[in-house]
């Protein structure tokens, strides 16, 4: 207990030294880019920037799947020459239903429905009710699809944000159907919000034979170029997924802005076939269920490229081109939480955090020297090492530090000296009881240790829970405190004890300064 082996001594000194080295990258630039230069990331509240929480629209995903399932079911029934009556789609209950043409075909229709291909296992259940066959989408399967959709969306969101030139964005999944986007330095996220709020699903579809009324197989959509409603066929001739490139250009004829696009070979073939077969008819360019324009087909378009002119300005044309290049989202995303910190507030918060940390540290240091003398000074040295080690661990994991995180560090420092106080009070008691210096030190360290472990264990458990269940600022606070408890155990049980032991070995005092 009182004699540190050389190995242990080297261990303690080594940890402190490594800690010091790990802290350095936070205060200087990397001398060469190849060095592993790990720094603490400043949170958005310190750096300034925007935080967006996006929610994937599950309903729309469900609606889309219901639509495609309906097409699939009808087509399969037709292929097998099974008849159906009164095909209905119900978005509320996420189900499709139809009545078989006759009772003879019931079993075959039921079997056909059960054999329909699924995208995820156990996607829908087929049941019979009141003579009708009912297909119901399953919630769990939709959640699985939502998870896939979120994974896809993250990629697309990243491409869109990268295209805006935002620096160092962080895009991550949260839960089943949410995405967290953090944009350091972006204090006006309106453009990005608009970009992310657009699904950008581009489709080319023919207009219904009579564009002024909705007939079966077509839907009334808003034409934003004429501000009127037109009936557009539900069947999609060419889909935006076949786009290979898009760009904003100035239209040679009108002088206004336009968006050009290039299709891949599959898209080009489909586009050529459709336009060849429908010369003279109108086709609609539909973006997110809004008709951008609905021109007449004058000549077949075979090159697989085209131009959209829909009353764009420079901004909207380049944004649309950007969205088309990045690809369509599988389902709409809605912003449900937004937090923006301006750069001046961020700077003020860093300032507040550092001042508080400095003043708090100093107050504790002075207190310890006044109330515990030489051993207080040793506690202060350990306290400084504690601060270094906390910063080192945060740097090592490239963790984020927020203002509440800094508060957590400061409170850790306040709590850390508790261990030193416990030890000192114990030693003092042992001295009062008439023990010699060596015995008093030994007894003090030994008896205080179990109390120190006890009191830190409760705090540790509480903050791990807080980290697991907490969100946002609370998590960072819990993280720094949890790390702080570990470093505290090291600095108080090993480092400050080591300092006291060294001093005792060198000075061999007749009595202890307690």
């Amino acid at each position: 207990m009182m004699y540190y082996s050389r190995l242990r001594l080297l261990g303690v000194a080594g940890v402190c030294l490594i800690g010091l080295l790990l802290c350095l990258p936070n205060f200087m630039r990397a001398p060469t880019p190849s060095l592993p230069w790990r720094q603490i990331h400043l949170g958005l509240d310190l750096r300034g920037g925007s935080y967006l929480l996006l929610q994937l629209d599950l309903k729309s995903l469900e609606h889309d799947r219901l639509q495609s399932l309906q097409d699939q079911a009808r087509q399969t029934l037709l292929d097998k020459s099974l008849g159906y009556r009164d095909f209905q789609k119900d978005d509320q209950t996420a189900s499709l239903s139809f009545a078989p043409r006759s009772d003879d075909e019931r079993a075959a229709a039921l079997k056909t429905m059960q054999d329909l291909p699924v995208v995820v296992p156990d996607e829908f259940h087929v049941t019979e009710a009141n003579g009708r066959i009912v297909l119901t989408l399953q919630h769990d399967a939709m959640l699985a699809r939502a998870r896939d959709a979120v994974a896809q969306s993250i990629e697309i969101v990243r491409r869109r944000i990268d295209a805006t030139g935002a620096i160092d964005p962080s895009i991550a999944r949260e839960g089943d159907d949410r995405i967290v986007v953090e944009l350091p330095g972006v204090s006006d996220p309106e453009r990005i919000k608009t970009l992310l709020g657009t699904t950008a699903r581009l489709t080319f579809r023919l207009l219904a034979p009579n564009p002024s009324v909705a007939s079966p197989g077509s839907t009334m959509l808003e034409d934003i170029s004429t501000h009127s409603q037109v009936a557009v066929q539900d069947h999609v001739d060419v889909d935006g997924t076949d786009l290979t490139n898009a760009g904003a250009v100035i239209d040679q004829q009108s002088g206004g802005w336009a968006v050009t696009f290039q299709l891949n070979s599959a898209g080009a073939t489909a586009f050529a076939n459709t336009t060849r077969a429908n010369v003279g008819k109108r086709f609609a360019i539909v973006l997110d269920n809004k008709v951008i324009e609905a021109p007449n087909i004058i000549n077949p378009i075979t090159a697989g490229s085209g131009q959209i002119t829909g009353g764009f300005d420079a901004h909207s044309a380049s944004d649309l081109a950007l969205l088309l290049r990045a690809g369509a989202l599988p389902a709409p995303l809605a912003v449900i939480e937004q937090r923006t910190i301006g750069p001046s507030l961020g700077a003020a918060s860093i300032h507040a955090g550092i001042i508080s940390l400095g003043v708090g540290f100093l107050l504790v240091v002075v207190f310890m020297v006044l109330f515990y003398g030489r051993f207080g000074l040793y506690a202060d040295i350990a306290l400084f090492a504690n601060l270094i080690l906390m910063v080192a661990i945060l740097s090592l994991f490239q963790a984020t530090l927020t203002l509440p995180g800094m508060a957590g560090m400061l409170l850790t420092l306040g709590m850390a000296v508790d261990a030193n106080i416990l030890i000192n009070e114990r030693i003092r008691e042992e001295v009062k009881r008439g023990r010699g210096p060596l015995q008093a030190l030994q007894a003090g360290f030994e008896r205080a240790t179990s109390t120190i472990v006890d009191s830190n264990a409760t705090a540790f458990l509480a903050h791990v829970m807080l980290f697991v269940f907490g969100t946002g600022p609370v998590r960072n606070f819990a993280l720094t405190i949890t790390i702080g408890i570990v470093t505290t155990l090291f600095t108080t049980l090993l480092l400050s004890r080591f300092l006291v032991v060294r001093w005792y070995a060198l000075a061999r005092p007749k009595e202890l300064p307690v």
Binding site: D45, L53, D188, E190, K193, A334, V335, I336, E337, Q338, R339, T340, I341, G342, S344, S349, I355, S356, L357, G360, L363, V364, F367, F371, Y372, G373, R374, P404, A407, L410, L411, G414, M415, D418, I421, E425, R428, E429, K432, S450, D454, S455, N456, T458, A459, A462, H463, M465, L466, V468, F469, G470, T471, G472, P473, V474, F477, A478, P513, V514
Partner: protein
């Protein structure tokens, strides 16, 4: 010589008879806690944006803020703010709007925040937006649930730990004391009108953790003394234990207090409330370690405690 301590809270041989004031302590504590519970229901806590949902925009105008002008500019844009207030310097203004009602309230909330920014920039050119937060209703209710879960689970972990490490009497006294501490802190929140948000949940938890830590140290000593002085009356023994740990109790409270103090003074709007509540909690936690936790043990009865710690060779 500086190597010896210069100051000390209490002389080592000082024996303060804390147990004499035990009834007074318990009564005062109970009254304060009951009052706090009443305050919790009426007027209740002021929920922060995290838990309430809605919008807060904080901005700094180039000159002294003209609240009337800003308010009318917002009204003209069709936005009806619930509050346009000063905070910090005379140039700082905080606009808050409660979460809108209706089917598409989520989208409305997000649109409103942009509307507010546009309107105030138009009314006062050169205005800097310091902070713009919009929290949808679904998010706020989830945050609230998660916050309470975090609080509940942490409390459960603390209790489980004490239950395992100490005898039942200690655990029960600790629980009761912690509940008394917690209710008073909630009452303090209700009186001071600090906003109850996620950061405040962290403050409550830290207070709980700190207060537990304090009790563990005193209880540790009581348990040790129960084994050491087998014939000493419990009342005397509790007094002795509190006195023996008094310098440590006050010392640690002092260092945590000193660490939290600058946060309350310079921490800025995010941390001032948090740190002030912390300071209050430290004072409450320290006094309850002395005046509540040990007297509760005395109420539990000497016989049961002695039995709990007796060993075969005793008597």
């Amino acid at each position: 010589m500086l190597s010896r301590p210069l100051l000390r809270f209490v002389r080592d041989d000082r024996r303060i008879n804390f147990m004499r004031g035990r009834h007074m302590g318990l009564i005062v504590s109970a009254v304060l806690s009951i009052a706090s519970v009443i305050l919790f229901f009426q007027p209740g806590l002021k929920l922060g944006l995290d838990f309430r949902g809605g919008i807060i925009v904080e901005a700094q105008t180039p000159g002294a803020a003209d609240f009337g002008k800003l308010r009318s500019a917002l009204e003209k844009a069709g936005i009806h703010p619930d509050a346009v207030q000063a905070f910090g310097s005379p140039r700082d203004v905080r606009i808050s709007i409660n979460a809108p009602e209706g089917a598409d309230r989520e989208a409305q909330t997000q649109k409103l925040v942009d509307g507010v920014k546009t309107a105030i920039s138009a009314a006062e050119p050169g205005t800097q937006v310091l902070r713009a937060d919009a929290v949808g209703a679904s998010v706020s209710s989830e945050l609230f649930r998660d916050g309470l879960l975090a609080l509940g689970f942490s409390l459960a972990m603390i209790l489980a730990y004490i239950w395992i490490r100490f005898e039942r009497e200690f655990a029960i006294s600790a629980v009761v004391t912690l509940i008394l501490d917690l209710t008073k802190t909630v009452g303090f929140l209700a009186i001071t009108r600090f906003e109850f948000d996620l950061v405040m949940v962290a403050a409550l938890l830290t207070i709980l953790g700190y207060s537990t830590n304090d009790k563990v140290v005193v209880y540790d000593r009581i348990r040790e003394n129960l084994r050491k002085y087998r014939t000493m009356p419990l009342r005397e023994l509790l007094d002795l234990s509190i006195n023996e740990t008094l310098n440590r109790t006050l010392g640690t409270s002092m260092t945590v207090f000193l660490a939290a103090l600058p946060l309350a003074l310079f921490g800025g709007s995010t941390l001032t409330g948090f740190a002030t509540v912390m300071l209050f909690g430290i004072v409450v936690g320290t006094s309850s370690s002395i005046f509540i936790a040990a007297p509760l043990l005395l109420l539990m009865g000497e016989k049961r405690l002695r039995k709990g710690s007796s060993t075969p060779e005793a008597e």
